[in-house]
Every structure is written in C-alpha cells, then in structure tokens.
Amino acid sequence: MTRANSTRFERLEQTIIVSSLLLMVVVTVQPILNLLAISFSDSAQVPGMSGLAVVPRGFSLDVWTLLIANPEVQRGLLNSLFITITGTILNVTFTALMAWALSRPRLPGRRILFVFVLATIVFEPGLIPDYFVVRELGLLNTYWAVILYKLVNAWYLIILIRFFEEVPGELLEAAELDGANAFQTLWKVVLPLTMPALATITLFYLVYHWNEFLRPMIYLNDSSMHPLQVVLRKFVLDGDKSSMVGLAAMSNYQGAAQISTRALNAGMIMLTILPILAVYPLILKFFTKGTMSGALKG
C-alpha cells in the first residue's frame, strides 16, 4: 500500500466515523428540535408541518402563553420547584453528614453500617410494602412522601464516602488539633476540598427530583399538589385535552379553541425539559468529570 493510498483510505475512514456520529447526533436532537419548532409555530400551519421540520412556520407564542396561563401548569411548576429544591437541600445535607462519619476509617461499627447501607441496594421489597409504610406513617397526600424517599441515596453516599476518604489525614488532624469539632472539620476542611463531588451529587439529586413522576402520582391524591411531570403525563400521555387548554383560557382567549393539540403537546414537553436544559452546561461540566474519574478509579 503506497502512502498516498493509505491517506486517502484513512480520510474515508474518518469521514465514515464522523458522519455516523453526526447522524447519531441528528437522531438524538432532531425530535426535540421538531417539538420546539412546532411549539413556536403559527397554529394554523401546525397541521401541515412535517415531523422533519426544525424551523417554526410562522411565529407565534400562543401555545406558550396558553400553557403558562394554565393554573394547573403554574401549580405544577411551583410544586416541582418546591419538591426539587427542598428535596435536594435535605438530600445533600444528610448524605454529606452520613458520608463524613462513614469516611472516618476508625469509626467504631463502620463495617456494620456499610453492610446496613449496602443491603438496601441489593434487596428491594417492592412497591406495595413501600406504599403501606408511607400510609402507616401518615404521609399519604403530603409532599414528604415524595421528598423523603431517597433522602440518602446509597449509591451517591458511597461515591461521596470515596471522595471524603481522599482528603489527606494530616489536614483533618491539624484541624482537630486546632480544636475544630467533627462538624467544623466537615464544614471548613472536607466540604471545600470536595466541592466538585458535592456539586455532582447535588445535580444528580436535582435531576432525580425534577424527573420523578411515579411517587407523586401514587402518593399525592390531591391534583393541586402534582408536579410538572405528572401534569405532563396527564395532558400528553393520557390525552386530557380539556384541562390542557383550560376552561378559563377558552373563554378569555379567542384563539384557544383553534390551537392544535399537537402544538400544545409539544409546548408542554418543551416546558418540562426547559429546566434540565438550563442546568445542562453544569451537568456536562461536573457529571462527565465525575463519571470519568469514577470510572478510572473503578
């Protein structure tokens, strides 16, 4: 094989590799862009729009104004924000506290506590026993039924313990000699040194709470407590069109009746994705690094 030949062959290889990856990018992103385009299109033109379209036809904010004016969507958004923020603060606090204690190598009973945590990963009794526990605790129809579940995620706990264990022992001893108590050492020495790990699990918990729909659906009977994912499910998957348009909007807003459900579905899906897209740059920064180093440590 001559050199010229091999270069041409390599160039062909490179083209095939890059184009197949770009095709994958298109398959991943196009359906989302299509929905985004439809949600911003003029309603009259939506029925004629192809699933391939990624540019809005005409331009109209009708779908977005209608959805944002919908009381169910508003409440859903607030509920989601409340559950996500409260949940994540509690998650990170208690995971960090427990991880700090368990990362002390000489803590008496450390092994037993590890087994105690790991056993919960291995065996899951299932949905119904869980339901009865929530019921017996009197948490049915309270936000706590949703927030407290996975208060401490065993996997993230283990990740955090591994990171805490890497804080040099001399630093901890120095802090203790200076009279810092266990809490002060955690706050002033350990946490600042493990910020990337902490940010990673914070994002993990945020995404988890934002995406959760099953528990709110099961445990919150009162639909005014439903987060956005449950509202999305009701509107788009169960096809509840009337509450999606909303009676109030129907009478106040002339064009409401004409807006296609396809456009409303698209808008509702995009609205639910929006917060994830907003934190996505952070996710990429921390998650990829965390996962990369996690995999390397193995």
């Binding site: 506290l97 427990m98 204690a101 283990i158 959760e212």
Partner: protein, 325 residues
C-alpha cells in the same frame, strides 16, 4: 512459636507486674469511652440511619403481606404461600414474567454493545471541539424523564405527522402506528432505551479508553499497525475489563426491565406485549387493590433480583477484581 506459646510466654514474663491491657477494661467503660469520643459522628448519621430503617428496612417487614390475606379492618390472616401458588398458577403472571425476560434480553443484545461502538468511534474523532459537540448532544436524553421521552416518541412515531413515518413514506413505505402495533412495540422499547442511554453509557467506555497507556499505541504504530489493528489489538483488550464488569452488572439487573419506561410507553392496545413484573405489581396492587398478590409478585422479583445482583457482583469481583462494593 504458636500464638498460645507466645501468650503463655508473655504471661509468664509479666507475672507479678501485669500491666492493665486494653482488654482488661470492662466493655461497658470501653464502650462509654468510645461513645464519648465518637458521638458527634453518630449524631450526624442518625437522620440517615433512621431514613434507611424507615424507608428500606420497615418495608422488608411490611413484605410479610405476601404471606397474609389483606384485611381493611382487623388483623391480616397468615396464609403461607397461598398467594405465590395463585401467582404461579396464573397464565397472566407467566406472560408478565416472560415479557420481563424477553425485554431484558432484547436490551442486552441490542442496546448493550452500542455504547462500546460509540466510544470507539468518538475516540477516533481528532478535533476536540467536534468531539465535545457530539458528546454533549448524545448525553442529553439520559437526563430526561421517561414521561418526556414517551411524549417525544409518541410525536416522532405518529402515523400522520411523525418523523419516522414521514421518512418511511418518502421511501415508499405505508405509514405504521408503531406505538399501538404488537409487532413493533418491543422494538420501540428497545430503541427508546438505546436513544436514552447509549450516549451516556459510552462515557464509561470512553473513560476506560482514555486510561489506556499511550505507549501501547506508539508501540503498535512502530509495528506498522493501522487504525483498525490498533482498535482490535490495543483499545479493545484495554477496555475488556470494563465491558465485562458492566455486562455482569447488567445481568444482575435482569429483572429490572424498566418500570418508568414501560409504564409511560404503554397503552391498552399493546399492554400484553410489554407488561413487566413491575407494571403488573402496580396495576394489580395499587389499581385493583389486590395488595397481597401484588406484594407476592414484587417479593418474587425482589428475591430473584437479589440473587442475580449478588451472583453478578461475586463473579465480577472474581473475574476482574472490580466490584461495586
């Protein structure tokens, strides 16, 4: 000198002036001293421990419901394995068990290898910017909920306006309703799983590739290896432990065919094709109120799952020295 002899020797030599060894301190006092030194740490762990007891250990006790007849008023009646007998006699449960195994197996065969190829391909992209762009696009679906993904798939697979049928029609195929046809719904499950996870999972393999010693590539190049030979003889052997570990752990999760996914992609027309143990438990338990039967089904799944996870982990550790715990 054996241990006993050592002890004997030390006892004899110390006879008369026995130092107070740590062992001589009564356990109560030792325990008290330890507690005094460590109590802030135990205090910090208390909320976490209570959480695990209440939300993970209390449900194990509650699972006794599988061996009882549930009563709204009064105590439940112990009935032994009655509900398990009902379960194993019912064709519906076997259909659900079969679906669980079939869907898991399909995911293993068709979804599991994809991230490996993606990682190998991404590693061949020379431009860092292009690589970052591709990665940030294909990681995204991993962070979307299954409700959202089901919405996206319903739109994309719509017979009248979905992108798949639009392309199909341009190529001369008649439009199909993929979401409601029993012949295609399992492939929808497999493909949506791929769409969501393949990109993100490639990250693990990519990290493993990055960890391969660059000298190995240099050496291969010196020996005249081309790109494919380097992939086959350097990259693949380099990531084999990662592939093995993830494969074994996937086997461990075989009973988890994916509740959220199936639950959101389901509709009445194709339920019998993709109903899995988890969705079955939800339906007969929370929707039909057959709590004991549903608990029995959930417990059956939990026990098989536990055996698989422990076995997978043990094998993984033996084989590669790597484990999760």
């Amino acid at each position: 000198m054996s241990l006993d002899e050592k002890q004997l020797a030390s006892t004899v030599s110390n006879f008369g002036n026995v130092p107070k060894s740590a062992k001589r301190v009564p356990w109560r006092i030792a325990f008290g001293l330890k507690l005094r030194a460590w109590w802030p740490y135990y205090a910090m762990m208390t909320p976490g421990i209570i959480y695990f007891l209440v939300f993970h250990y209390f449900p194990i006790y509650q699972a006794k419901l599988a061996f009882e007849d549930f009563r709204i008023f009064g105590d439940n009646l112990f009935v032994g394995f009655k509900h398990f007998d009902t379960l194993f006699d019912s064709p519906a449960f076997f259909q659900v068990l079969a679906n669980t195994l079939i869907i898991s197996a399909m995911k293993m065969v068709f979804v599991f290898p994809v991230p490996i190829f993606i990682a190998l391909f991404i590693n061949e992209v020379r431009s860092t910017n292009l690589r970052r762009f591709i990665q940030s696009a294909i990681y995204l679906p991993h962070f979307l909920s299954w409700v959202v993904i089901a919405g996206i798939f319903i739109a994309a697979l719509s017979p009248s306006s979905g992108v798949v049928n639009d392309i199909g029609q341009a190529l001369g195929f008649a439009p199909r309703s993929f979401m409601t046809e029993s012949g295609s719904i399992r492939w929808v499950v497999v493909f949506s799983e791929m769409w969501r996870t393949a990109g993100w999972d490639s990250l693990l393999y990519f990290a493993a590739i990055m960890a391969i010693d660059p000298q190995l590539y240099d050496a291969a190049e010196m020996d005249g290896a081309n790109r494919w030979q380097k992939i086959v003889h350097v990259t693949l052997p380099g990531i084999t432990p990662t592939i093995a570990t993830l494969f074994i752990l996937n086997v461990g999760l075989f009973m988890n065919a994916g509740f959220d996914q199936i639950f959101n992609l389901s509709n009445d027309a194709i339920r019998d094709q993709i109903d899995i143990i988890d969705t079955y438990v939800y339906r007969i338990g929370l929707q039909s109120g057959q709590f004991s039967l549903a608990t029995a089904a959930g417990l059956f799944k939990g026990v098989i799952g536990m055996v698989l996870i422990v076995a997978a982990h043990t094998i993984s550790k033996r084989l590669t020295g790597k484990g999760v715990w």
